[in-house]
């Protein structure tokens, strides 16, 4: 027990629950000893003037004769908090016990007026407001973008499927943040000391999974574009299956192994505070690796584009295409999450800046991605305009064309012509630009 206590003291300050548990143990032990003493003392019928053994809600005072000064060590629960040794005293007077001296907080080195963290806390709360705004706006825009991409069937192709998965992972990341905040930081439940709150831990696992899935899909975007540029012929369908396994499967593996190790090695609280670095590497390692790989892919893609732009001198059309690609490359930063590399290896001193950069600003990444890859996308705009026109031409404002396209089989009217080759056309649309 002692070794586990010292271990937690080194890693992080213990939870209040552990302190309370230790205090309860000490109290039980003390009361047991006192009643044992009392039973032994009962036999001599002569009353002995003096001080009876006492549990003063903190330390155990053995019975003593008047005129003595009793010394006890600082209570173990205080030592647990301060990891400092000290002694407390009480005089046994003919009237009973004196007050404890010196004052317990001074004797055992407890600082109850520590308000140095106050400023940092205020900063964290401000940060929370900012990222809540960021994630909510991202969430709304992503939902709209996702429904547009889902509804416009002619936009369905590998690239957009990957975008859609990325959107979903962004949505999940935002949602899991809200759920986590609701569970952890706004609860007024008293069952805090119940260490086996399965629900809270499940929320935590879900949270970790959503974050990792988002990183995985950012990586998939990088891998896909890189494959597209480097390898001329590859099976898009097989590729997509592999990417889905990577994007949704690999986070599950890592998070599951994290949960298992956490359960057996560091089952503290709601798994929200991680003090054991080696366990945390299970999540941290893959995340850093994905950031690193994406950064390398990003640089490589840039190089390929630059080289192609330099060598291509003929044909205005193709040059235009590559110019478009070059322009799009700048838009790759939010899509790949290249900004994560800035602070991935920064020292701990830059933590406040990092938190501001990656949380307050980074929470808008989903919004930016939704705008750049859906609302500002020329193909999407074109498709939406087309649909809008069809909708108006048809004269049935209440019956969207998309519905008649998918459900009515070979009906007459303006939809018939477009229905003829939706897959070919969509493929044509998607091939027009790579990004």
């Amino acid at each position: 027990l002692l070794s586990t206590i010292t271990m937690t003291t080194i890693g992080a300050l213990p939870q209040l629950c552990d302190v309370l548990r230790l205090l309860q143990e000490e109290q039980d032990q003390c009361l047991q000893e006192l009643s044992k003493d009392r039973r032994e003392d009962v036999s001599p019928q002569l009353p002995v003037p003096g001080c009876e053994g006492l549990w003063d809600n903190m330390s155990c005072w053995p019975s003593s004769a008047p005129g003595h000064t009793v010394e006890v060590e600082c209570p173990r629960f205080l030592q647990m908090l301060t990891s400092r040794n000290g002694s407390l005293f009480r005089n046994c007077t003919p009237d009973g016990w004196s007050e404890t001296f010196p004052r317990p907080d001074l004797a055992c080195g407890v600082n109850v007026n520590d308000s140095s963290n106050e400023r940092r806390h205020a900063y964290l709360l401000k940060l929370k407001v900012m990222y809540t705004v960021g994630y909510s706006s991202s969430l709304v825009m992503l939902l709209v973008a996702l429904s547009i991409l889902c509804a416009l069937r002619r936009l369905h192709c590998t690239r957009n499927y990957i975008h859609m998965h990325l959107f979903v992972s962004f949505i999940l990341r935002a949602l899991s943040n809200f759920i986590k905040d609701a569970v952890l930081f706004s609860s007024d439940d008293v069952t805090y000391c119940d260490t086996h709150r399965v629900g809270c831990k499940l929320v935590m696992i879900f949270f970790q999974y959503c974050i990792m899935a988002n990183y995985a899909w950012l990586l998939v975007e990088g891998l896909y574009l890189h494959t597209l540029l480097v390898i001329s012929f590859f099976s898009e369908r097989k590729c997509l299956q592999g990417f889905i396994a990577l994007g949704w499967g690999s986070p599950a593996v890592f998070v599951a192994s994290w949960a298992i190790t956490r359960h057996f090695l560091e089952d503290i609280g709601c798994w929200d505070i991680n003090a054991n670095a080696s366990i945390w590497w299970v999540i941290r390692g893959p995340v850093i690796l994905s950031i690193l790989i994406n950064f390398i892919l990003f640089i490589n893609i840039l190089r390929i584009l630059m080289r192609k732009l330099r060598t291509q001198e003929t044909g205005g059309n193709e040059v235009n295409q590559y110019k478009r690609l070059a322009k799009s490359t700048l838009l790759l930063i939010p899509l790949f999450g290249v900004h994560y590399i800035v602070f991935a290896f920064s020292p701990e001193d830059a933590m406040e800046v990092q938190l501001f950069f990656e949380l307050a600003l980074g929470s808008f990444q989903g919004l930016v991605v939704a705008i750049l890859y859906c609302f500002l996308n020329g193909e999407v705009q074109l498709e939406v305009q087309k649909k809008w026109r069809q909708w108006n031409l048809q004269g049935f404002p209440l019956r969207p064309v998309a519905l008649s396209l998918s459900f009515s089989n070979g009906t007459s009217g303006p939809t018939h012509g477009t229905k003829g080759s939706p897959s070919e056309q969509s493929r044509g649309i998607c091939r027009a630009s790579i990004i």
Binding site: T100, R103, W280, I296
Partner: protein, 115 residues
């Protein structure tokens, strides 16, 4: 196309950055994911707040204890002449203080959590 040589160059540069920033050992403590870092920081802060709040209450209780305890001790000293009665007091007194202590703990927990 990027050659293997270029790739190796990029890798070396990145690894150099990694190890240069890692040598002071401070980076080990970081969580790499900002959401997790935020949760960790805020969670630790709330836990310490809870602990300090509880400790303050606890120390106040203990400090006040002798003023409660001294008359009790004197009373018990007076009643010690009749041993059977004293037995009763012992049984009565301690479970009561135990219950009070628990209640105080729970109160503090409720208070700290709602903040």
């Amino acid at each position: 196309m990027m050659s293997a040589k270029d790739m190796a160059k990029v890798m070396i540069v990145i690894l150099a950055i990694v190890f240069l920033t890692r040598t002071d050992g401070k980076a080990i403590k970081k969580r790499a994911v900002s959401e997790i870092q935020f949760m960790h920081n805020l969670g630790k802060y709330l836990a310490s707040l809870e602990r300090i709040e509880w400790l303050r209450k606890k120390l106040q209780d203990v400090h006040r204890f002798p003023s409660l305890g001294a008359p009790l001790g004197a009373g018990e000293g007076g009643s010690q002449r009749s041993p059977p009665k004293e037995e009763n007091i012992l049984v009565d007194h301690h479970p009561k203080s135990l219950g009070e202590g628990d209640k105080a703990d729970v109160d503090v927990l409720i208070k700290a959590k709602s903040q």
